[in-house]
Symmetry: D2
Subunit: 165 residues, 4 copies
């Protein structure tokens, strides 16, 4: 059973950062990944892929990425379902990122600090992998019952049960 996804694309909007009742950070964002081929009409389309990151990298994502940022994701595909507002089951497929890579050159302010001579850009900022294992004495919580990507500002509907480990 192998489940591995690697993506490089651009954020379609600013990431959203939320917290579980237990205080664990989760960030969600959508990557637009342009296809390498064109369609019948000669247009280059894109795939829009929902991604989730937990814990420390979630906060890095929220702090360093924004709409339009180029980012790499190494993770796994996850499917889940939840009760939609009209009472029927909604099925969701998303990428749970083990690590997120910031591929944008440092912003001009930071860049100033790196190396003289405009043309050079330092190393992309490496977000560490998701490494702190889930504490095993977490209290149980009911499963997530809202789509984190159809979110409108609430901070209450993510459960600690959704932690990948």
């Amino acid at each position: 059973m192998i489940n591995r996804v690697i993506l490089v694309g651009r954020l379609t909007r600013d990431p959203e950062l939320r917290y579980t009742p237990n205080g664990v950070a989760v960030a969600t964002f959508t990557l637009a990944v342009n296809r390498t081929f064109t369609n019948q009409q000669g247009e280059r389309e894109a795939d829009f892929i929902n991604c989730v990151v937990w814990r420390r990298p979630a906060e890095n994502v929220a702090n360093f990425l924004k709409k339009g940022s180029l980012a790499g994701v190494d993770g796994r595909l996850q499917t889940r379902s939840y009760e939609g507002q009209d009472g029927k089951r909604v099925y969701v497929t998303e990428v749970v990122a083990d690590s997120v890579q910031f591929l944008e050159p440092k912003s001009s302010s930071e860049q100033r600090g790196t190396t003289a001579g405009g043309g050079y850009y330092g190393d992309p900022f490496p977000f560490g992998p998701n490494q702190n294992p889930r504490s095993t004495n977490d209290p149980g919580f009911s499963r997530i019952d809202e789509d984190p990507f159809a979110n409108d500002g609430q901070t209450i509907d993510i459960s600690d049960d959704d932690l990948p480990f």
Copy 2:
């Protein structure tokens, strides 16, 4: 823009083979990929991932895989949307397979032909990669307007426009 997915899992049911108006084969199937970790309740859950293959490998999939078969997929993530039966847009994320690998030992009948001594299993059957480039003079067709995974036997609702290349 990198978009790569690799999966190993088992088919949740027999694959479905259909043809576009242009006669191009498409097979769809769902892979159950067991997670490597257990949830709060100590159960091992699975992700159920919809996959699509086009052309020659589609027919191989239909001929050699069935419910329960262990298979590997190397492909890319695709998102699309279609008009649901209630008139609202349905968003879909699925894997378009470049190649599908049959990881089941040969069946006992075939196995008979390989090597004596029950304990031995021949090579997994290698489906070739999707290699014939799409002919560029394909006539245009309207986009797919049904979810191929919510299919109930029709054979008419897949468009040549959905060919990955």
Copy 3:
């Protein structure tokens, strides 16, 4: 900085299990991965890829895989160099596995326990991912100075410094 490798192939010989001075298990093995295309002479060649696993999964590999076993690897590419016996630097590229998947049907003895009627094979045995983080107070040891793949039975030349984390 993304570095991800996924392989499915067969072991060219039994895995070798060794221990660092600190008692950490390491297994090495070579996967033969058949190419999907044939060469000029119409022959199907293979790539022979050296793999390394650390800790618990190392012992699983040693216990459950043997020459000819079909296995999946999810890991990263690593390069290192060491002083060859003739005093010149030897450069090595190998895969450090995060997880190894046993893709062989259960052996006939175990199989007996699963389901009657030869044709059915249970779930492939899932080796867990490499999960116990390296203790940070490990004493220092000198770097590895022999190729673990050119090994002839010694058990002394692997250093704790080679632990991936």
Copy 4:
């Protein structure tokens, strides 16, 4: 048999472009991929991974990438061996790229053409995948007998037999 490698890193020097006797382009380059973890001494090491691209993307690589460029590679691991200068067999593991992604912002000269206001960087240049299948009537040539990465300017030692397809 699955064989997939995805890398994002920086070129350690300018790529080398050569041609087979048959006129097919091959580019070779080495990617430095920083590890996400630090070693015993708290230093962040890197892996140095040799990559090969054939045909059209080879020329794109030679034209658009140079020492220090950030690039993504999607390909497969290949092993080969050749007769070293001292007569003994040298074993080589390298990545054969299906596609190479240029992840550097457009250079200031090109950038000028895109959008006003220095802060904006256009799309990374997408190298197409390796798509023209090898012509099957290529004359045969003897196998490569020099390491393309230990190259010192010759252009004669790459064989058409090394084409991935």
